[in-house]
Symmetry: C2
Subunit: 510 residues, 2 copies
Amino acid sequence: MTAYDDLTAHIAEYHDLLCILNTLKWDMRTMMPAAGAASRGRQLATLTTLAKSIFVSEETARLLDAAESEVASADSDSYRARALQQIRDAYEIHRRIPSDLVAQMAALGAESEAVWAKSRTENDFPSFKPYLSQMLALNIELAEAIGYEDHPFDALILQFEPGMTSARLQQIFAELKAGVLPLLERIVAVDQPLAIDLWEAEYDLAAQKKLCRELTALIGFDYERGRLDSAPHPFEISFTRDDVRITTRYDANYLPMSLFAALHEAGHGLYEQNIAPELTRTALTTDFLGQYAVGGASYGAHEFSSRLWENQIGRSRGFWRLHFNRLQRHFPEQFAGTDAESFYRAVNRVRPSLIRVEADEVTYNLHIMLRVEIEMALLEGAVSVDELPEIWNAKMQEYLGLTPPDDRRGVLQDVHWSFGGFGNFPTYTIGNIMAAQVLAAAHAQMPDLAAKLADGDYQALLTWLSENIYRHGRAYSPDELLTRVSGEELNTAPLLDYLEHKYSDLYGLR
Amino acid sequence: MTAYDDLTAHIAEYHDLLCILNTLKWDMRTMMPAAGAASRGRQLATLTTLAKSIFVSEETARLLDAAESEVASADSDSYRARALQQIRDAYEIHRRIPSDLVAQMAALGAESEAVWAKSRTENDFPSFKPYLSQMLALNIELAEAIGYEDHPFDALILQFEPGMTSARLQQIFAELKAGVLPLLERIVAVDQPLAIDLWEAEYDLAAQKKLCRELTALIGFDYERGRLDSAPHPFEISFTRDDVRITTRYDANYLPMSLFAALHEAGHGLYEQNIAPELTRTALTTDFLGQYAVGGASYGAHEFSSRLWENQIGRSRGFWRLHFNRLQRHFPEQFAGTDAESFYRAVNRVRPSLIRVEADEVTYNLHIMLRVEIEMALLEGAVSVDELPEIWNAKMQEYLGLTPPDDRRGVLQDVHWSFGGFGNFPTYTIGNIMAAQVLAAAHAQMPDLAAKLADGDYQALLTWLSENIYRHGRAYSPDELLTRVSGEELNTAPLLDYLEHKYSDLYGLR
């Protein structure tokens, strides 16, 4: 297998460079003194360009051709065949994207993100508009370069979510709306403000950090192969499965901020830490299009793991029944007058709100649909950038019954469009759907899973997830993985069942 | 200046890669979970090889040739001319070193360092011997490849200390011995154990860290462009002047450990932070032979700055007269029964000791001479690896009047030889000599410097050092810099004067 081995060695070195880029990004967001930003920017640019030139080189083409001839007869489901397929697909797409366009997007993205940040602070959409228009035009160019059959959005989402299309998304959204909007209406009709405000207290940051570490270790995050740090925008990033870094953020007056962000990022981390060791430094832990060392099947699949551990485990009644005493141990005064059930209810309160990142499980996907529908309309030219605030506010009213008082809390709230991340928003909703579908499958295959979770034994679930999902890295698509565990491709029914069941109970809707 | 600019852009990208390597090394020593070591090793190897291939490429040769023709008429002292000279010198040397030899040294070094660590712990020199013999043979090969006129040591020291030779070192050592040995004898004759042991207390680590930060900020380390972390072996490293990281180590029962290591590393950091901004990402902040982004004129010159701030400022009576109250503020109970003068005396006690890194200012250079004399003898074949423990112990007896009870506290104590760092030890002594010479020159040029230092105004000294030394990066050799400020090349007299003056006073020898 000489040719395949040669290609593998070549990809391993390319993968090393992507792990190094990840290290630079982690450092930039957690450790770097502010004045280091300009130098770091140049270092990132130099290494990104170098990595790309190595991937799109004639050498890759030569090694790939040779390896393909050698492996032609291999089982198409084998890791080998999948690795070759991914390298080939990415290589062809990379070659279709003019390097001029990449450079233009990178240059505009850096400027545009800074303009966006300022315009959000100053609630000044008009000054962001020209940048957004340019970024939209470049994304349309990118979509044309990548190519698509039906809708330009299909080309863009391909970067994050193989197998997903605008047509499928529209079907998914219709199903979700049909289930979620009536549920939300029933909840809003009976929702009452909490009797006491659990969060009117100070929570020592060092104690918060200890608690975050305890809870993430409890669900299986391996601190021998990872770290927890703080970052203004929490994230997870890895430099192989043996070095996985998670972050959270701390609010001295609001404990759930750090706890649930830590559980969320640990959920991402569990995916990376449990990829099969033999996939380390291979195509199956490489996102070639994003030039990013990451092992999940897709961005949505990665989000499945974070949301499963954050929400379906971390926001469950059973979890807090078992672990509320930890809160009391770290914060005896703050939690003296309350109990596990009150805490469970407080961290699951459903309320239509303006800001996506603060949304609850029921309303969250409505925020995503709104964005994706707008993105699609922008890409097909049905809506202009000028009309954005208006259409945003109309959809907010339609889905959530709220009208943002200003663009800061409306169309300007997310960073994504400023740097050109078109096509990325659906991955959050795909993650939510997949989490419910996978957990339902796990319960179906392991009749004693509920009892184990109720006892605080998370290892059984982690092992099952590792064997069925995590270990394969990027070898199989989300639909393939879902079909293996549940017999079906991505399906909204389990998520709608989960929401109906949990919130009917919580709000006494039955 | 097209050709020169093209070369400059090429070197800037090479420099970015070296800054990235530094970031990976910093992370490895301060943040990385232990399990990440194997992946990190591969990442370092991949990027080191890639960087080298970029530097020794035909492209570098072509750009360098063109730039040299263009700049031929430039002033030979200009930054431009110096940059070209350094690139040319390094390029020629790099091409003389077979890449096989580099790979062999790297592979053996990693293994050998692990064997050394084990053999030191187990006091087992015989098991380290074969590795050291191989490493010595490879260093002799390296010296032959680099080339030398007089002694193989001259080729090896060239990597760290341009302009230094074995002949000059022997002269320097003779002068130091003639001054230091009689002084040490006089001190030992009158030295008394301290009346009280200052360190029989607990020093809270968080308070130690605050104090280290305060003291390093006081001498001018800029935390807007730097950080302080903890590391088992303290070091300084930078990724341009705008991101300079220092480390220290903490001992709960011995406060001077963290304080003086922090001042030492901050001294290194001050050098980097005060290099002229226009030298950022240029040949004049690049050690091409070591493939290391570092801005000092030489390794000895870097050590001059660390030792000046650690010892000549940080261990001075005036420094503690002013700042002893800070110790008392952080550790009120521990320092209740003592005063600044006692502290000053305690941290300057002179005693012959077995371990280099714990040695005082008077005995320190004797430890270095011993090592360098042995290295030279090994390289010329006058001494064999078998004879090492014997010759080590004999020299310890001759210079320090002590015989190590075992090899662990003798010939096995330093890591340097295990990974092949032959030629590096003299830089510590060169730093000590240069520190005294530069500070004497500063006092001569600024009659009010003593008064300013006595008032705790360190900015005047920092500004003078920046203007005269730091700002030039690697543009001028240590001898050139010293000649500019003192009228003389490296000269042992100021160091001997400083030691004589300080310790005669401290020990009442007059």
